[in-house]
């Protein structure tokens, strides 16, 4: 049955985004908020709102019992988790299911399977998706790790089987290093995740981060092409593009088709993203993981394909069939998104929670700003620093970068420091314009003083 009363278990810009999508579909919205978020824009926009606990996320947005109880009390028939917080928490999904509430995302079993790196890799391999050469399964001992490393070739990357978000990843250049690092990685994995299992794979040098957007209805699945998200600082994406200009048509087709095979193989429901490393020299791509949620950077794909992905996920999770065949989904032009964070890029990205004393949003064809700001809004210090995302769409990549410069110059968020100077510097950088960067590019670029010199 289509979703009628949807509870939004998130905050910030994504809560605003979800409310807009739901209201456009005639869905009644119920916004959750913490004590520190009573003034946030999503609360003002939603049809109803309910306080779920204190400022600290662990006691509010991450509190499964509190969120489920609030959704139940509000007579919600569905919960949209956004990204982060409980979006990929299988226990949360099971608690909702037990309460008779639909989760706007895949099943708990799919989240469990794709959240375990080893299980996800096995699912990908059996669906024909290329994976980085590495261990076949979990590794429990250093000797096992050394044996696998000699087969896949150094340098190798060691990860916790239960890990995520880059935590606990180590790179060993040779056997000596591996023998030192494996026990450390195992101890850290046991401490962080309660599971000391490791896995190991070849470290790809200077890779691109490419990802494919998919959507499934439990039976059928489609892709909405790829995104290029190599511009990262501390493994956080900073600047994202759709599509990836570095791919030729044949590689793009292979990448996207195999992503759909995996989505179909796991009977995927909702929006998902398959992440890959891409070696631009050999044109090889390797699956790294699947994110079973809507992602921060989904708007570039929406601009590229003209599809509202949030509405589509609400539709399929309410039991609807996919409304587009693969042949209906086409790409046009080029889109770029930059993340505006409340951080001072000229002061080691120090967080800068403050009051928004003035806001000027750029407007025009091909410009979109997804955010949760208004004049007078006091940004709370308890959550991440993302304020909004500026997205542009133009006929080609060069025009999109030009439009990004214009849009950035037209955006004024007064009263707080933001990462706008970083994005202006990037948009004017020769290597960025030449599409000549990879996941290890931005940090050395910052360390070399490129940001201060272009001020």
């Amino acid at each position: 049955m289509p979703i009628q009363r949807m509870f939004i278990a998130n905050r910030g810009e994504i809560a605003v985004r979800i409310i807009h999508a739901a209201q456009a579909m005639g869905v009644h919205t119920i916004q959750a908020y913490s004590e520190a978020d009573a003034d946030m824009l999503a609360v003002r926009l939603a049809d109803e709102s309910v306080c779920i606990g204190p400022a600290q996320a662990a006691q509010s947005y991450l509190n499964v019992d509190a969120v489920v109880a609030a959704a139940k009390a509000a007579k919600a028939d569905a919960v949209h988790p956004g990204y982060g917080f409980l979006a990929e928490n299988a226990g949360f999904v099971r608690a909702l299911t037990a309460a008779g509430i639909t989760f706007v995302g895949p099943s708990a079993d799919t989240i469990d399977r794709m959240g375990d790196k080893v299980a996800a890799r096995q699912a990908a391999q059996s669906a024909g998706v290329p994976v980085v050469p590495g261990s076949k399964g979990r590794l429990e001992t250093t000797d096992e790790a050394v044996k696998v490393a000699s087969e896949v070739g150094y340098p190798v990357m060691i990860k916790a089987a239960a890990g995520g978000g880059g935590k606990g990843i180590r790179i060993a250049q040779n056997e000596d290093e591996l023998r030192k690092m494996a026990p450390q990685a195992q101890a850290e994995a046991a401490a962080s995740f309660g599971d000391g299992g490791l896995y190991l794979e070849r470290a790809i040098q200077s890779p691109r981060h490419i990802e494919v957007q998919i959507m499934g209805d439990g039976k059928d699945a489609v892709h909405y092409f790829e995104r290029e998200c190599s511009m990262q600082r501390r493994r956080q994406k900073v600047w994202e593009e759709a599509g990836a200009a570095c791919l030729d048509e044949e590689t793009r087709k292979h990448l996207c088709d195999t992503a759909v095979s995996l989505a179909k193989a796991v009977n995927y429901v909702g929006a998902g993203t398959l992440e890959y490393l891409y070696d631009g020299v050999t044109k090889e791509f390797f699956f790294i993981e699947m994110n079973t949620r809507i992602q921060v950077e989904h708007p570039v794909t929406e601009m590229l394909t003209g599809t509202d992905l949030v509405q589509e996920m609400i539709h399929v999770c309410g039991g609807g069939k996919l409304r587009q065949q693969q042949s209906d989904i086409t790409r046009s032009g080029h889109a770029i998104e930059v993340r505006l964070n409340a951080e001072d890029p000229l002061m080691q990205f120090m967080p800068f929670p403050g009051q928004v004393t003035g806001l000027t949003v750029p407007e025009g064809k091909g410009i979109r700003f997804d955010h949760f700001l208004y004049e007078g809004y006091q940004i709370p210090p308890f959550y991440d620093s993302l304020l909004g995302k500026l997205i542009v769409h133009a006929p080609d990549r060069a025009a999109a970068i030009d439009l990004m410069v214009t849009a950035l110059e037209g955006l004024e968020i007064e009263g707080v420091k933001t990462t706008k100077p970083l994005h202006l510097a990037l948009a004017n950088d020769a290597a960025v314009r030449a599409d000549d960067f990879h996941t290890q590019w931005l940090e050395p670029w910052l360390a070399a003083g490129n940001l201060t010199s272009t001020r």
């Binding site: 600290q56 409340a342 967080p351 929670p353 709370p380 210090p381 308890f382 991440d384 620093s385």
Partner: protein, 78 residues
């Protein structure tokens, strides 16, 4: 008594992790630059350092409490 103030709003922690002891206890000597706690602001942890030397007296805020910029976190005898 000298007070140690938070330079930023956020969540205050008296220990580096739940398994660690508090940074300082009553009677500990405090040197300029000693870390007395952490404030988590937007998922970034900032070390709060003593700007005066002395003997630690007490924390004025509980571990895990929300603090504002300029709030007194701890006091010490000079």
């Amino acid at each position: 008594m000298a007070q140690v103030m938070s330079p930023v709003p956020g969540t205050f922690y008296t220990q580096a992790s739940p398994e660690e002891p508090t940074y300082k206890s009553k009677g500990d000597s405090v040197a300029v630059g000693d870390t007395i706690g952490l404030v988590e602001v937007m998922k970034t942890f900032i070390e709060i350092k003593a700007e005066t030397a002395g003997t630690f007296d007490s924390y004025l805020v509980e571990n895990g409490a929300a603090v504002t910029a300029g709030e007194a976190l701890a006091q010490l005898e000079e």
